[in-house]
Amino acid sequence: MLAAITSLTILGIALGYLLGLASRYLKVEGNPLQAEIEELLPGSQCGQCGYPGCTAAADAIANSQAEITICPPGGLALVEKLASKLGVSIDLSSVEDKAPMVAFVNEALCIGCTKCFKQCPTDALAGGPKQIHTVISDACTGCEKCVDICPTECVAMRPVPITLQDWHWPKPDAVVVTQVSVV
């Protein structure tokens, strides 16, 4: 009886000490997951997620403080990648894939104030002072930073027009049975 108690106590103390040592000497510096997630994020530091940049967002996602669906420019594809990286299962059919939007400058209203292209994280706005600005839509991530800053409200978000090249068959409706005739 006494032998059992003693031996188990000693064993417990020894193992606990080992664990303590391990936690001190084998400590992982920082969170490696955070870096991996940041690699996947768009990296345009647009701030649409509510965090001050992709690094902060990656940190939040890695610490489960933010949903994996917070990044609008990343879209459904990013959600899928994050889900597989973090090993969370997510019902992808429930995630709405927002149609991609790009900024569009109404040239009639633009006064060439240059405020917008100082804001643009990807240099997608071209033009100089006192010149009318235009958006290079291939470089625009749709972060909307330019929309709020414009003094004349001439920047608007528009959906990217679908062309024949990027049209594809829509998803057939999920199984919905409306009517059926026998045989």
Binding site: W169, P170, P172, V177, T178, Q179, V180, V182, V183
Partner: protein
């Protein structure tokens, strides 16, 4: 002219097939053996059959209603009727009515709808019910009667039959009769070998025609075979499952019979008795719960055959079709995961084919 149809891709033509058509063909194939079974065991069998099928339909409708799914299309697809039907065929024909009711509820609710309804179930619903019943009510599920053909002398009339099915089962004692497999098992356990045990037992021809004690629709090997051939001809089932399953049992039975003829009956007895025939053509071939590839089906059927023989020969139960099918059902997802057809232009490992002889015709 502007065309207003939903944008959905082709093909814009279709084979004349549908799920209810498929189910109707299976029912048609079951018709001969069912009609014979109902005739052979008289009114009680007819009552039990009706109760079982009706309960299946009601259970399906209720489940769909609770799940808020459309009731009409899923009821009309015929799968619930078929499940009830198959279950009824595996029951002792004079079993009390509540056996059919409980069985159908188990099959439809636990065996099918809980998994998500049509096409989602992992296990064959009728076999889930059969096994659950066998374990819960062993007495009722193993009390068989000798044939009492409809309108024959000595068979119960309509009113008496109502009493058999809906009254108390106690009075069956006087007329109960063991199935061949049950008899062999009992005799062997009492130390009586086959040379004596098989005396006064139904002959092979009798087993072929089915004029013997047994479950409602399992006695006539010949009629089941006829229905099975119809399904094969209509390409609703493939030959692989029935052939591989029967062959496995036959081969094992032959080997064991040669080793010890006094303990192991020969292949013919195995093939023609119990629910093997019905199992091979109508139960193991259930589309939802069997593998989708040819090779997978062969493996599955060999597994079924093996388990049936093992259970029949060495376990506490005289018959093992239901257990074997359920066990192999559980393996179906695994079989489908590992056994896939070879993709065109690729090797079995999934690498693109390379022709060694001409290397490649690409000019460097």
């Amino acid at each position: 002219m502007k065309i207003t149809v939903p944008i959905i891709g082709g093909p814009y033509t279709h084979e004349t097939s549908s799920i209810n058509r498929l189910m109707l063909w299976v029912m048609l194939a079951l018709l001969p053996v069912t009609a014979y079974g109902l005739y052979l065991f008289g009114w009680p069998a007819i009552f039990l059959f009706t109760v079982t099928v009706l309960t299946a339909i009601i259970a399906e409708a209720l489940s769909l209603w609770i799940a808020r799914r459309p009731i009409k299309p899923f009821l009309l697809d015929g799968s619930a009727v078929l499940t009830g039907w198959l279950l009824a065929l595996t029951l002792p024909p004079w079993a009390p009515w509540w056996v059919g009711v409980v069985g159908s509820l188990l099959a439809i609710v636990i065996g099918k709808q809980v998994f998500g309804g049509l096409g989602q179930n992992l296990f064959n619903p009728a076999m889930v019910a059969r096994v659950a019943l066998l374990i819960s009510f062993p007495l009722q599920l193993t009390t068989f009667v000798a044939p009492h053909p409809l309108f024959a002398a000595g068979s119960p009339g309509f009113m008496d039959s109502l009493h058999v099915t809906f009254g108390h089962a106690a009075q069956l004692d006087g007329i109960s009769s063991a199935t061949l497999l049950g008899h062999i098992r009992t005799q062997l356990s009492q130390g009586i070998d086959l040379s004596k045990a098989l005396l006064n037992q139904p002959s092979l021809t009798q087993l072929l025609w089915g004029n013997t004690a047994g479950s409602m629709g399992e006695t006539s090997a010949l009629l089941i075979l006829a229905g099975g051939l119809l399904l094969l001809a209509r390409r609703i089932i493939s030959w692989r499952i029935p052939v591989a399953m029967l062959a496995t049992v036959a081969v094992l039975a032959t080997i064991m019979h040669m080793l010890d003829p006094l303990r192991y009956p020969d292949a013919a007895y195995h093939l023609l008795s119990g629910s093997l025939m019905l199992g091979a053509f109508f139960i193991a071939t259930d589309l939802v719960t069997s593998p989708v590839t040819g090779k997978g089906q062969l493996l599955y059927a060999v597994g079924c055959g093996l388990l049936i023989y093992v259970i029949r020969s060495w376990s506490g139960f005289p018959e093992g079709v239901a257990f074997a099918v359920l066990l192999m059902n559980a393996l179906t997802p695994l079989i489908d995961y590992y056994i896939k057809p070879r993709v065109y232009g690729r090797t079995h490992r999934g690498e693109p084919i390379q022709y060694a002889d001409e290397a490649t015709s690409k000019k460097s």
